[in-house]
């Protein structure tokens, strides 16, 4: 029941999101055809393009047309390159998705041990060090961290490529190219998640059931491991899901720093080329991904928290 309901909410959200994407592009002042052709275009050529793009039809019809295409996996063709948009996005995802997954993995590897360690050293030096470092990490723009990392490790030492992406023909080369961008994102995300892990563990340690566990003869750290961590995982999971949106947004920016051919750089190119349909398709795919992650996180709760299954 919970799953069915949650899936319903998901589908509803995706449709609303598609409507939002579409309406920002269509309802806002400004004629897309005019925008695409620039100010020098003749009224005739603008009118011709409008007809070609179907912009002369009523907006709801245009939306339904686009939406039915989306359902079939057809996002239209790019006005600039004439390529199929869905195919273009798919090839860009081959960079963006591994980058996001890599960044998330690094974030978790960084944040979980650091957060648990800080909580276990609460009010001691170790906690202060971790807290201070995460405070600093929180203040750094990821793209700036990227610039610095490039300067030091790519330009300076030559350990990593400074920009570009060699493709997945060699998995090692591909991962090497994504390492610094992923690290830039993980520094910032890691700082945020560390704070949450620390707070969640500290909150958990104050709970009554931890006292019960200790009353049974478990030491403080044994009580944390056996009883605390699974409980602390519940709020952390929520934040991980929510932060995924920020992480994907971060890839858009970081791709520019490292000149990676991902979804983000595609969108920015599309803006300069006034390729509106491509922007629309790309943005929708990103939003749909974020909503999917939220769905997965919510469904995962059932395995972490037995109370959810009955809600």
């Amino acid at each position: 029941m919970y799953v069915v309901r949650r899936l319903g909410v998901f589908l509803f959200s995706v449709v609303v999101a598609s409507g939002l994407v579409f309406s920002v592009m269509s309802i806002l002042p400004g004629d897309p055809a005019q925008v695409m052709l620039g100010t020098q275009a003749t009224p005739e050529s603008v009118a011709a393009l409008r007809t070609e793009l179907g912009l002369d039809r009523p907006i709801p019809i245009q939306y339904l047309d686009w939406l039915s295409g989306v359902v079939r996996g057809d996002l239209g063709t790019s006005i600039f390159s004439g390529q199929d948009i869905a195919a273009q996005i798919a090839s860009r995802l081959q960079v963006t998705m591994p980058l996001a997954v890599m960044a998330m993995t690094m974030t978790i590897l960084l944040a979980f041990p650091a957060g648990v360690y800080a909580a276990s050293r609460h009010r001691h030096l170790g906690d202060t060090v971790v807290t201070t470092l995460s405070q600093v990490g929180l203040a750094i723009p990821a793209f700036w961290a990227g610039l610095i990392l490039v300067t030091v490790f790519a330009v300076g030492r030559g350990w990593f490529p400074a920009n570009g992406f060699p493709g997945w023909n060699s998995a090692g080369e591909g991962l090497r190219a994504l390492f610094l961008p992923a690290l830039s994102l993980a520094i910032v995300q890691g700082a945020i998640i560390t704070r949450y892990v620390r707070a969640a563990v500290l909150d958990t340690m104050r709970e009554d059931y931890i006292r019960t566990a200790r009353a049974k003869g478990l030491s403080r750290s044994a009580a944390l491991w056996r009883h605390g961590l699974r409980n602390a995982a519940i709020p952390v999971l929520t934040i991980l899901g929510l932060q995924f949106a920020a992480l994907l947004a971060g890839t858009v920016v970081i791709e520019t720093v490292f000149v990676l051919p991902g979804l983000g750089s595609m969108l920015l190119q599309a803006i300069t080329r006034r390729d509106l349909l491509l922007v629309q398709g790309g943005a929708f795919v990103i939003v749909a991904f974020i909503l999917t992650i939220n769905l997965l996180v919510d469904l995962t709760y059932r395995f972490v928290d037995p109370r959810v299954a009955r809600r």
Binding site: M1, K216, S219
Partner: protein, 534 residues
């Protein structure tokens, strides 16, 4: 032979304030000792100090020995050998004291896996036996359940099973039944009693509720302000209290909780002038559906209740948690609307009108939680004057507020202060003053004294009774506590699962209950003379 000695135990905060001050006592092997006192008296801290589980930042001095072994000053790791093994503890709120994401059986058998090196499969089997011993039906199934799938009583039984798993020499129970309904409390207490007898463990029972210790303990310690004020045999202290603190505590126990006999009270013949008349009130809540095709389960919070409340009487609505008494009260005062049925309050037909403003002048309410019932950001004067402003009642508000505060016996400078500066009992008085501000004819009091200490309860109940006369009120008094209802109410309505099962003069209902549920409720009340029939 002495099992536990506490000698000169003192617990101080970092700023040097002594929360527990020079407490000394001893418990014999297999002994049963009660530690009673009001909230903040230091009784829980004493228990936690014995277990070595005090919150960080508190200093402990003095000596605690268990079986001759000194515990004060030992490292946390050294104490783990004893905790859950030779001494164990039962906590107040079994829902939060249990790990929500771990199966009950695993939690119950955990002490065995820690101290007896038992294998998981042996421990699981033992958990089922332990749950069975505390009277949980279908123990195999319950062992595999999560805490939220058990009832409050089952959870507390499981906690008892957990505490007794390793056969400890000392069990500390901190308000083990305070969070439970009275019928469940009686069952849990009897389980605790019989299990202790079976294992021959010593008991330190901590509570603010005197009758709870009466049927279990032989010795009694009375603690106040962190110091042991009085000590002696339980029977002797309750029968002939000498020390002023003990006397105050004993006298605060309502008559009905004193002995197995329900005392008679002067019966005020009621005037047959009906002020509230309700017929067939029903209010349902639909829970979320579990399966797609089935409709969600419907909870009838109030199910076909009819009642007549007479002008000038105190009408009690009594029932256990979830019986629907609060929902009924909220319907009577127009906070909730009934799905079906009709209700007339002093001539206002609530089901016919949408505009409840006239009702607001007639009926006001006092709530349970003295912390939550006052807006912490407002001065008391503004809080009490709010109904006057809201209902656009003219006149000099300042004078009226002063009169009201005086009526509830609060000092004159109260109006300029904020809620946090007052104790629970004082806040409840402020809430009463606010409710009286529009000069209502009806006062609905929903568990108004449940969150207060026993002695404060008495004073507040007396105040309510006095105000009822002075302000010429009809009072509706809602409580789970039969003794309190008996003490203050003229007539009562007993509720069970949304239905009114019995109604009549308080004396008749409690002395000669007609309905089985009422009989059970009355029988479950722990009495100061130790007689519990359940």
């Amino acid at each position: 032979m002495t099992l536990l000695t506490v000698d000169g135990l003192t617990i101080t905060t970092a700023s040097g304030q002594a929360l527990v001050d020079d407490v000394s006592f001893a418990i014999e092997r297999g002994g049963r000792t009660g530690l009673i006192g009001e909230s903040g008296s230091g009784k829980t801290l004493t228990a936690l100090a014995i277990m070595g589980l005090l919150p960080e930042g508190l200093e402990v001095s003095g000596s605690i020995t268990l079986d001759g072994e000194e515990l004060v000053g030992r490292s946390d790791r050294a104490l783990t050998v004893h905790r859950g093994n030779s001494m164990s503890m039962i906590f107040q709120e079994p829902m939060t004291a249990m790990n929500a994401v771990m199966r009950v059986g695993r939690q119950v058998s955990e002490p065995l896996r820690i101290h007896r090196d038992m294998s998981d499969s042996d421990a699981d089997a033992e958990a089922v036996a332990l749950l069975e011993a505390v009277g949980i039906d279908r123990p195999e199934q319950r062992a595999g359940a999560y805490p939220h799938e058990l009832s409050g009583g089952q959870r507390q039984r499981a906690m008892i099973a957990m505490a007794l798993a390793c056969g400890p020499a000392l069990v500390i129970a901190d308000e083990p039944t305070t969070a439970l309904d009275v019928t469940v409390q009686a069952q849990v207490l009897s389980v605790l009693r019989s299990r202790l007898a079976a294992t021959d463990a010593a008991l330190l029972l901590i509570t603010h509720d005197l009758p709870v210790v009466a049927g279990i303990t032989h010795d009694l310690l009375v603690i106040e302000g962190g110091k042991i004020a009085d000590r002696g045999g339980t029977r002797e202290l309750f029968d002939t209290p000498v020390h002023p603190v003990t006397r105050r505590l004993v006298e605060a126990v309502p008559p009905m909780s004193r002995s197995g006999e329900v005392p008679t009270k002067a019966h005020t013949p009621s005037v047959e002038d009906v002020i509230i008349s309700a017929r067939q009130l029903t209010r349902t809540y639909t829970l979320r559906r579990r399966r797609l095709r089935e409709p969600g389960p419907v909870i009838r919070a109030v199910d076909g209740v009819s009642l007549d409340i007479h002008r000038g009487e105190t009408f009690g609505i009594v029932g256990e948690s979830g019986s629907g008494k609060t929902t009924l009260a909220r319907i009577l005062i127009g906070l909730n609307r009934p799905d079906r049925g009709s209700i007339t309050v002093d001539g206002v037909d609530l089901t016919a009108t949408k505009d409840l403003r006239p009702l607001r002048h007639i009926a006001q309410m006092v709530f349970q939680d003295p912390m939550g019932s006052l807006d912490p950001r407002m001065r008391i004067g503004d809080i009490v004057a709010e109904p006057l402003r809201s209902l656009k009642i003219g006149g000099d508000h300042e004078t009226r507020v002063r009169e009201l505060l005086e009526a509830v016996s609060l000092p004159s400078d109260t109006a300029d202060r904020y809620p946090h500066e007052f104790s629970g009992g004082q806040r409840q008085r402020i809430a009463i003053a606010r409710a009286l501000a529009p000069d209502p004819k009806i006062l609905v009091a929903d568990e108004p004294v449940s969150a207060l200490d026993m002695s404060v309860q008495t004073v507040t109940l007396d105040l309510l009774a006095r105000l009822k006369e002075d302000f010429d009120l009809t009072m509706i008094f809602i409580s789970h506590d039969l003794s309190v209802v008996h003490r203050i109410c003229d007539r009562v309505l007993v509720m069970e699962s949304g239905r009114a099962v019995e109604t009549g003069p308080a004396d008749d209902v409690f002395r000669t209950p007609d309905h089985e549920h009422t009989r059970q409720l009355v029988a479950s009340i722990p009495r100061l003379d130790g007689t519990v029939s359940a």
